[in-house]
């Protein structure tokens, strides 16, 4: 290939599946490679992964709508993924045209697509960064341009906490963000749990070992501790479909199959 050498992406591994692209596939998107699709199909055999994704994405929307109701107009979305249906800025700007959103992800495909999507959107931007570096993110000019840390912020960590291993101390990480936020800020978070289907989840851990984003599911207790220093709003930390469902019947008779706990909390 005559000119390809300069185009071969650095730091992008198309062989090794990434969580962002797997999630995109599970939601019906087209921005993924064969390896991502294969991994997703393996997951589907172990866990109701399509339902998990759909229910998580729907939680994200309800959480953002709730935060808007609570008067939040600026959002920092950590691990935002490939823009697909129901992106945070679309939800927020529909409710409040002055709302501002900064997306953060470390996956190049996710960032490239976000950049394209946001080109014409002055109130939203995307930053390529590792969420384990809160100081760098919070100081980044792209973030500072749109977000005022002296006012309440909606911090979103939806469907990402399981990517942070215990060794990187997710509890301390959330605390570092928390300390930088103004009172009245909210945290919306969802994460994989062992509690419902330990065997299926163990299989998923194994499957994700062969990806760029190994996962670390946690118990209810462990995920609850991520909210230390925040005050959970009703109904607390629950399976995603149970978090303020739009319709009672949406919950179904097996909310636990979502395999993710979700909660929204306020910094006092």
């Amino acid at each position: 290939m005559t000119e390809s050498s300069s185009w071969v992406p650095e730091g992008v591994n198309t062989e090794l599946p990434s969580a962002a692209r797997v999630y995109d596939y599970l939601l019906g998107g087209g921005h993924n490679f064969p390896g991502d699709r294969a991994l997703a199909e393996e997951l589907v055999r172990l866990l109701p992964a399509r339902d998990m994704s759909r229910l998580n994405r729907a939680f994200l929307r309800r959480a953002v709508l709730h935060l808007l109701d609570a008067g939040i107009t600026q959002f920092l979305d950590l691990g935002s993924g490939i823009p697909t249906v129901g992106n945070v800025h679309e939800i927020a700007l529909a409710a409040d045209p002055t709302a501002r959103v900064v997306y953060v992800d470390y996956e190049p495909v996710a960032v490239a697509h976000s950049e394209m999507l946001l080109r014409e959107v002055p109130n939203a931007d995307v930053l390529r960064a590792d969420m384990r570096e809160p100081e760098k993110i919070l100081r980044a000019p792209r973030v500072r341009e749109l977000i005022d840390l002296s006012a309440p912020l909606g911090l979103l960590m939806v469907g990402v906490a399981q990517f942070i291993p215990d060794d990187d101390d997710p509890w301390a990480l959330v605390a570092r963000y928390r300390d930088a936020l103004a009172p009245g800020s909210h945290l919306a978070l969802s994460a994989f749990t062992w509690d419902n289907a330990p065997e299926g989840m163990a299989g998923a851990v194994e499957v994700f070992r062969h990806s760029q984003d190994p996962i670390f599911p946690r118990t209810h207790q462990e995920i609850l501790r991520l909210f230390d220093g925040f005050e959970l709003v009703e109904p607390g930390l629950v399976y995603t479909p149970l978090w303020r469902p739009e319709r009672a019947e949406d919950v179904g008779d097996n909310a636990a199959r979502s395999n993710l706990y979700a909660g929204v909390a306020r910094k006092t």
Partner: protein, 665 residues
Amino acid sequence: MDRAELAIRWAAALTQVAYVARDRDVIERELADLLGALVACLRADGPDEATGVGRALAESGFHQPVCVRVSIDVLSSGLPRLTEVDDATRLPGVLAALAAGFADATRRRLFAEQQDLRDALVHARNTVERDLRASEARFGEVFTTSALGMVISDLGGGVARANEALEEMLGYKPGTLFRKRLDDLFHPQDRAYLRTRYDELADGVGHQLDERTRFLRADGETQWVRVAVSVLRDRDDLPDHHVTMVQDISDLHLLEHHISHQGTHDPLTGLPNRQAFVGRLEEALGTGQEVSVLHLGLDDFAVTNDGIGRAAGDHLLREVAARLTQLLGEQPGIVARLAGDEFAMMLEHPPGGLDVGGVATEINDVLSEPTYVDGQGIAAWATIAVVSLPSADTKPDELLRATDIALRKLKQRGRRQWCVVDPVQNQLYREQYRLAATIPGAWENGELGLELRPVVALAERTVVATEALLRWEHPEYGVLGPQRCAELLLDTGLSVLLGHWVLGQAAAAVEGSALYLELSAEQVADPDLVMQVRRVLGESGLDADRLELGMPVCSLSIGDGVAEDNLGVLVDLGVRTVLTDFGHTRGDLACLEDLPIHSVRMSGAVVSRVVRPDPAALFTRSVAGLVPMVREVGISVLVPGISTEEQAKWWMGVGADLGTGPLFS
């Protein structure tokens, strides 16, 4: 049920499988509007308006293929139950149109999405960013990620880079396409034109290039594609490359034969489609030309498609198209793909006349030569119905309907058959259609009713159950019997609705006797079957184990599993199950092992073949061997159509235990 209720059900079903970022109320309102449009189609507007509904559905965010499946499930059972719908005869047409519209919108959406990607690519390349390397990384990323074929070529047409999607689409090994020249990928007939357009683009004089055209595959076959081309510029803003995005428009959808009515050509094979064929035939008949029409149905195409794979099926269809085209050669006429596995050929008669039988034979000769997919040889055979020299006032659609029925009948007899549909028969078919079209009215006027027949234990001659069948007391033609009714129903799409109705009527009519009822293949595969049976059992008070439902072997041995699921649930309910049309092949025995079956009903064709059994004949011996095998595993054997004592004795002798027919009435 009213519209709002159905909209709620529809929304619930859709949001179970796909995520759309809107409030449920909003979704329900949108769907209720769509229902309004569908109801209008059912009433008057005709099915075509329903394509708009399909399109709207996909555009509203429910664009995954599973959404159309879910919608058709909900609508096919829900729409007829709407209080405002009193005539559901248009339902199948309306749903097909909906599916077509959906497929069309999905295709557009995919294209638009990929256009975004292409833009991303151009954007990343053209924007001079601080971090050039990062931008190139992203460029490469988008390039490889794309599900669409992409090729970057220099202004002279040398391929600088092609992605795997394109290589795969055109059948090249990964990494081999960049040595080619872009123009070599163009179809010879479109080559000069495309090159001019590319040059114009580079010179900045042409407008956007975005159209349907043909490429050549590595194996020399034609590939229908849609291309969109843009220009890459270097840092001095001078054009230096073309980026071509290539979409395979042959391989898009489940329902492509539904979509094909939007153009005159079938995207998969490049042949004229049904509409084009009908137009051409109309023209020929109108100008008094002497023609013959051969209507071909591929035999066992599903075996290739489901067994080896969709890609192999597509390959085979293209191959058939190519061979038929070659066979037609320079002769005046036309070859078309009518639908799924159906093709048609119209030939103008040369002055000396035409040997249509010879053509039919020749067709099967050229088709039977295997073609290779991944080293596997696959071949096609066709069953062919021929109409020779139709009169000038023949309507093409009617002609094709007649050949269609003839095909179906022929296929029941075996493969590689051909027959001439003669004008008298043709006349009969036409009558048949006219008659079939009046069924809905007859139903409403109470002309349809039941015929009850005893099912008898052959040894004791006691009545063990009552069989209920549909009959029609026609004001003009007198009573049309069950056989005739079944034939007519085949053409109406009403068999499910009427079948359910018969079930309800019969359960009320048998009063305490056990009821035996044969379901049509469509009914067996109807997702609503179990609910209907439950309802009928509840309303009539008939015990489940006094209901015996017959299901055709063919409906259970293939398909998507709905029929098998229905069977399983019915057995759980306590209903007794009968496999009907049994005994054509020994493969039928496999069904008995795999499925919970209580009885089998021998195929009528088998019974009539052994009316006067010749003990030495292979067929007779095979039947005589089959029955005991079935009985051995505790399954009853019911023999239909017994009209003589002799017949009854013979069947009893080989082990059959139940019978129906004139002898017992």
